[in-house]
């Protein structure tokens, strides 16, 4: 019987996965992460079979939101007391806790499951690259990212920029900095407070 015991241990083992959330949309990566948390990626899946895996997510600080979701995507909360309703847009929540957005996305996508709480315990979120050593040792596989990580301007080397084909030549005396506006750096000054809190 020892062989059966050991084989069962292997079949129903809880493996550890790691997911790089750098430049990834939190919502679509949440779909993928929750699939692994529930164990839907295993042929031995069953709702009450508790065959889900652990997922370690890092770089949650560098998630990318589409359009101006940072400003318009709201996290709603109600303390269930009168006047306890409050909302905060994504960038405020992100400043306060960089892992909150992805965690909440996964939590919502596990709605309706009675073992949601245990599944959420198996989600380990880290704002940036450094992950505690003992957790990193457990990892045995990597989940593929949801989106292509775009190449930033800094990533291009100088010759790439020079050798990139130009559609037209800029006149020598053209002053590039002129188009800059003064208040471009401050976040959403131009929107009224009321609209922001809508």
């Amino acid at each position: 019987m020892a062989h059966n015991r050991v084989m069962q241990w292997a079949v129903l083992a809880r493996t550890w996965w790691i997911f790089d959330a750098n430049q990834q949309c939190p919502f679509r990566s949440a779909y993928r992460i929750t699939t692994y948390l529930q164990g839907l990626h295993k042929p031995v899946y069953h709702r009450h079979g508790d065959v889900g895996d652990h997922v370690v997510v890092f770089n949650t600080k560098h998630i990318a939101m589409r359009g101006d979701f940072w400003r318009t995507y709201k996290h709603f909360h109600h303390t269930r007391y009168a006047g306890g309703f409050s909302r905060a847009s994504a960038y405020r929540v992100h400043e306060e806790d960089p892992t909150r957005i992805l965690e909440r996305a996964c939590h919502n996508r596990l709605s309706g499951l009675d073992n949601r709480r245990t599944l959420m315990k198996r989600l380990h979120l880290f704002p940036d690259k450094d992950i505690p050593e003992n957790i990193l040792e457990n990892v045995s596989g990597q989940i593929q990212q949801v989106q292509v990580v775009p190449k930033k301007l800094e990533d291009y080397t100088q010759e790439d920029i020079d050798s990139f084909p130009q559609l037209f030549k800029m006149p020598e005396d053209y002053d590039i900095d002129s188009y800059k506006r003064e208040n471009r750096l401050e976040p959403d000054q131009h929107t009224s407070k009321a609209w922001r809190l809508k």
């Binding site: 679509r28 993928r32 699939t35 949801v146 292509v148």
Partner: protein, 252 residues
């Protein structure tokens, strides 16, 4: 009738985009892909649009859309599985076209049959399993198994049967899958009827409140227990051998 509606459905689907289907070559298809998706399918999570979602596995270098006919007759549960699991695990559509030449080349086929025959001769095929079809239900059986055939099943207790409808046979080295059945010259599944009894008392109770509507039945279903004795596979015909002058099969 179903076939009719299905084909009509297909026709409508195509008729709505006449421009697309005039003379088409692979290259052109590529360029007007946007047109294809734009006009045909609402940007919801419909079947074919599933493939057009950014970041999925479909690359524009490949003909991305499966047949519209497939799209129109995909059931809800299939679509749900596609979205819930296949797309979430990132296997939407096909990454790159696999080289399907191996499907039709004969030499590969002979090589496989040669290997199977060789392992049969040496007798190290090991334990075989089979998928058999009895009274409308498919069972996966190996030697030494018990299966239950529900409702009335003519054979009597103690009879030795040969299960004829075998859909697939497999072992640790090979698996043979019939389209839809495997020929009886090469596969033999033996079983004996071990028991013919009635099930326990099952309840059928229907009740509607305040409608004086109440029906109650207790019934017992007849079922038969089959014990699977053995699964045997015979030599497959090599390319050179003709099937007609097949020597007397040991399975006959």
């Amino acid at each position: 009738m179903a076939a009719k509606t299905c084909t009509k459905n297909v026709m409508n689907f195509i008729m709505r985009s006449p421009k697309f289907y005039t003379s088409i070559k692979l290259k052109e298809l590529l360029l007007c892909r946007q047109l294809y998706f734009g006009c045909l399918v609402r940007p919801c999570l419909g079947g074919s649009s599933l493939h057009s979602l950014p970041g999925n596995r479909f690359s524009s270098a490949v003909v991305s859309s499966p047949f519209p006919s497939l799209v129109s007759c995909r059931t809800k549960s299939t679509r749900k599985a596609d979205i819930q699991i296949s797309m979430n695990l990132g296997v939407c559509g096909i990454e790159k076209l696999e080289d399907f030449t191996s499907l039709s080349d004969k030499s590969l086929e002979d090589e496989v049959t040669g290997q199977i025959n060789e392992s049969l001769e040496q007798g190290n095929t090991g334990r075989l399993y089979a998928v058999v079809y009895i009274r409308g239900i498919q069972h996966k059986v190996t030697a030494g198994d018990l299966i239950v055939v529900k409702y009335d099943f003519p054979p009597n207790v103690g009879d030795r049967l040969r299960l004829e409808k075998v859909l697939a046979v497999g072992g640790k080295d090979f698996s043979m899958i019939g389209q839809p059945l495997l020929s009886r010259n090469f596969v033999r599944v033996d079983a004996t009827v071990v028991e013919k009894t009635l099930s326990h008392n099952r309840v059928w109770f229907v009740y509607q409140k305040r409608r004086s509507f109440k029906k109650f039945h207790l019934y017992r279903e007849i079922f038969t227990v089959l014990a699977i004795n053995s699964i045997q596979v015979a030599r497959l015909p090599e390319q050179n051998e003709e099937i007609e002058n097949q020597s007397t099969q040991k399975l006959e």
